[in-house]
Symmetry: none
């Protein structure tokens, strides 16, 4: 029942390790690679796999638990749970901020020299995945 998480992190990046873990796992949770009911590796095991301290993984798990994706149980590991959808009330606010961040990220990609058409292709492919 335990699932390999299949994520990788890069300690050289500016983004803190625990954030990278959270972000990577959130992708797998949203895309339902990790489904409710599945057990996650223990903090200590994932920590070994990623070559970080177990506290770092524990912090990531705690954050995911707070977001309502997983449940941490004393002595019994961590489990993916069915997440109640957040109310769309705050979205009016959030939506704007996220759109801005999207625009900023695209600008960053272009600034780094990526081809505009290539980026456009990626965006369309992401959009298509969402429309399924």
């Amino acid at each position: 029942m335990e699932e390999p998480v299949n994520i990788s992190i890069d300690l050289k990046l500016a983004t803190p390790a625990y954030r990278q873990i959270v972000d990577a796992m959130r992708v797998r949770l949203v895309e339902e690679d990790l489904k409710p009911g599945q057990m996650l590796p223990t903090v200590r095991r994932l920590a070994m796999e990623l070559s970080v301290h177990f506290n770092t993984v524990a912090q990531a798990y705690r954050e995911l638990a707070e977001e309502g994706w997983i449940e941490l149980k004393h002595g019994r590991g961590a489990m993916v749970i069915a997440r109640r959808a957040p109310r769309p009330a705050e979205n009016a606010e959030n939506s704007k901020i996220f759109s801005e961040r999207l625009r900023e990220l695209v600008a960053q990609m272009r600034a780094s020299g990526m081809d505009a058409l290539h980026i456009a292709m990626e965006l369309r492919s992401l959009a298509q995945a969402l429309e399924r």
Copy 2:
């Protein structure tokens, strides 16, 4: 000749003030709202407008200068310059990281309760702008 920068930052956000400034200005530079030859407001003036310490703006300007967007002239402010495109050598590496960040950002948007179709629409609209 001096251009209003028309950006706004939110000190309550987790993203540091100087990053917000850099990110917002990079959007305007990439999208060529700010064109080579135009003068930017002085560090102190922009700092006042945004209600931040002038060191914060100075750091943002320094970063933009490092990225090759602007030129700082001692005592005479900052000017947008024609940026030589970054060599696409780094791209193979960067491209992957950016794609991952894009995916993570979309996951975050979905996790925050935003409608998938709404996000898809945004992505397509960004793609379209890039293809022009």
Copy 3:
């Protein structure tokens, strides 16, 4: 002679299962729903009813026995006994701590958005029950 215990626990809560059992049973003991002489369900039966490991119930029973509420008889289950009142010697110290915890709990209720008057009503109703 055996009494249904009529408690329920929630494994999703942060409070450990065994604590929930102890706390719930202590309420029933203090309020004398469970009276000296009555037999409690066996560790294994209560464990099944609550869907927890029997060790968890065993730990709860052990704690209640230590507090002087029940008596464990090897192989013959557990019985509610007449508890000698704890000497009020410790009270001076405990009283302060408990008052503080009461205050903290009320603060938590208010922080969670509960109506102040509603909380006050509850407190008065508890007080009234104590004065009978």
Copy 4:
């Protein structure tokens, strides 16, 4: 502008230090001893005062920030902010749990030998404070 926090914790207790700090400060925030706009001591200073590691205080502050009571700013300390009231939607659920915890706490007090009338008095006094 900086305010003494005037809390004390007891490392001998089972409740973790950071929880004690959170609980004690929440009382002071709910009762508006600490008002929006006030600066809190830095994590390192409060840590010294309470004789704990600064990480312990940092964790407590982070929790209070998450609950919306305070704001942590890089390089600028922590400030009490005006907290948006939590929506009373979840209360139906919470209310029950909190009432149960109240009942359990009272049972614990009685079990520890505190005089029932004394407890009743305390409850009434808390109720009165809420009705003001």
